[in-house]
Amino acid sequence: MKILVCISHVPDTTSKINFTDSDTKFDTNGVQFVINPNDEFGLTRAMWFKEQQGATVDIINVGGPETEPTLRKALAIGADNAIRVNTEAKDGFQVAKEIAHVAKDGNYDLIIAGRESIDYNGGMVPGIVAQLLKANFINTCVDLKVEGNTATAIREIDGGKETLTADLPLVIGGQKGLVQENELKIPNMRGIMMARQKPLNVVEPQGAQAFSNAEKFEKPAPKGAVKLVDKDNLDELINLLHNEAKVI
């Protein structure tokens, strides 16, 4: 089984978000970048397929040279080969087209991407990749098994779960649940050393166009101070929720 895991390079979840250039660019100053958490759950599941079923695992990122440390980390976790498409994409559509272009030649059985990146939250890359490759697609995937040519997946729906089956090739939008938090792998020294030797191929983009663009950013308006209610005066809280906030 050949697996491709799509890796987005995103600010760490604890990052404070600021903008520069008249609020047109994300301010990377002092920001720690990591593997997109939704992708990391997928990558770890891919490692499971590697260990249990002898899969080979390639990773792909669409981005500039600054994303390479993130790719090296994914290699240290255990991926076999990395591919970086050397372009700064403007939207998920452009990313998806570049990934699909590479994936077409790679004949992958399974492509795993996060359900969304935690920076732009576009939520479109896995679905569009599937559409472009005419592969099957299952989103918000929380469990995945493959037997022969058939995948069985569990998808999270609003208020429950659905079990689905589909033939390979398959693209999934992954998230927490594919593996548990405590199953995520922290690269060890041997992994880090080996990652340095693994191939990281830089390929030039095919020139796909974006269909949308983030023109400007805004931060949420500052919040008013909290109204503290005495713990022995809960009637006051109920009064505020009923008459002021009008939510009960």
Partner: protein, 322 residues
């Protein structure tokens, strides 16, 4: 030229998210000087659509589509968009909407803006405000394709009544075998529980509750309020609660009217995930907990003492106000 809205239904009823999407579509149509067409699957009564500004509904009556199927639904919606010469397609942001939207974008070669929170600031060029960085910021996104797809966040634009005359048409898209290559074998959905996605009120517990055996506190309060229950990330990581209840940046987002956080300190990732909620209440014995900076109302006190009292008082309040 109409604005097309996909109106999702469940058990013969339009979902609230669908009616919010219809309200939003009407707002977009008014800006563009056109009308709203809805597409629905296997629905017999469309009265709700009439209330929220829909002028025409294309109903697909097809046994094979009685269960949600992302590929087939996306194909049908794409065909409806072409038939109507639609320039803008609107949908909500339920799990199903988020599943089919990128497939639809691929079929229509349309730019897609998810998580929209307001009407487009302009329709030519098409620019819309959406959340980004997991609710820590907004961005104004422009879409340059001929057809645009917008996913409207829950509880952001809201429901806007706009009574209209509605005509209903049957619509029979041509579906191929490939549309049905992903099979749904089983659905496991609790029907007696309010889901985090649909809930108006969410009651959430954190590490301050000390252990899964104390979750009665959260559950009792939620029951009185008709609320969904949720939890913080450490609580789901420790296995006290299923991770489907984990709300926050890597869990589920919450956009309820009221969010009550019990024993949750308020890590930045958690606050981002719940920031779209309209009113936030925090109950915590640590007055320095970061959640107090993000909340509207706060009680400094021991959850084990405050929550049962609050539950009792709300019971009385509900009894007197119903």
């Amino acid at each position: 030229m109409s604005v097309l809205v996909y109106t999702e239904s469940e058990n013969g009823k339009y979902k609230k998210a669908a009616l919010e999407a219809a309200s939003y579509a009407k707002g977009v149509a008014d800006k563009m000087g056109t009308e709203v067409t809805a597409i629905s699957f296997n629905m017999s009564s469309h009265d709700d659509l009439k209330t929220y500004g829909v002028s025409k509904v294309l109903n697909v009556a097809n046994e094979k589509l009685s269960k949600f199927n992302a590929e087939a639904y996306a194909d049908a919606i794409a065909q409806a968009a072409k038939k109507e010469a639609t320039k803008v397609v609107i949908l909500g942001q339920t799990a199903n909407d988020k599943y089919l939207a990128p497939l639809l974008a691929g079929l229509l070669e349309a730019g897609y803006a998810s998580n929209a929170v307001a009407l487009p600031e302009s329709t030519s060029p098409f620019q819309v405000k959406r959340t980004a960085f997991s609710n820590k910021a907004f961005n104004i996104t422009s879409i340059s394709t001929d057809i645009k797809i917008v996913g409207v966040s829950k509880n952001a634009y809201g429901l806007k009544e706009n009574p209209t005359e509605l005509t209903a048409e049957e619509f029979s898209p041509e579906l191929s075998g490939e549309d049905f290559s992903v099979n749904v074998n089983a659905v496991d959905k609790a029907t007696d529980k309010v889901t985090i996605a649909d809930a108006e009120i969410v009651v959430s517990g954190g590490r301050g509750l000390k252990g899964p055996e104390n979750w009665e506190l959260v559950e009792n309060l939620a029951e009185v309020l008709g609320a969904a229950t949720a939890c913080s990330k450490p609580v789901s990581d420790m296995g006290w609660r299923p991770h489907s209840e984990h709300v926050g940046q890597t869990g589920k987002p919450v956009a309820s009217n009221l969010y009550i956080a019990i024993g949750i300190s308020g890590a930045i990732q958690h606050l981002a995930g719940v920031s779209a909620s309209k009113t936030k209440v925090v109950i915590n014995n640590d007055p320095e907990a970061p959640f107090f900076k993000a909340a509207d109302y706060g009680i400094v006190g021991d959850a084990f003492e405050v929550v049962p009292k609050l539950t009792e008082k709300l019971k009385e309040f509900k009894a007197n106000n119903s």
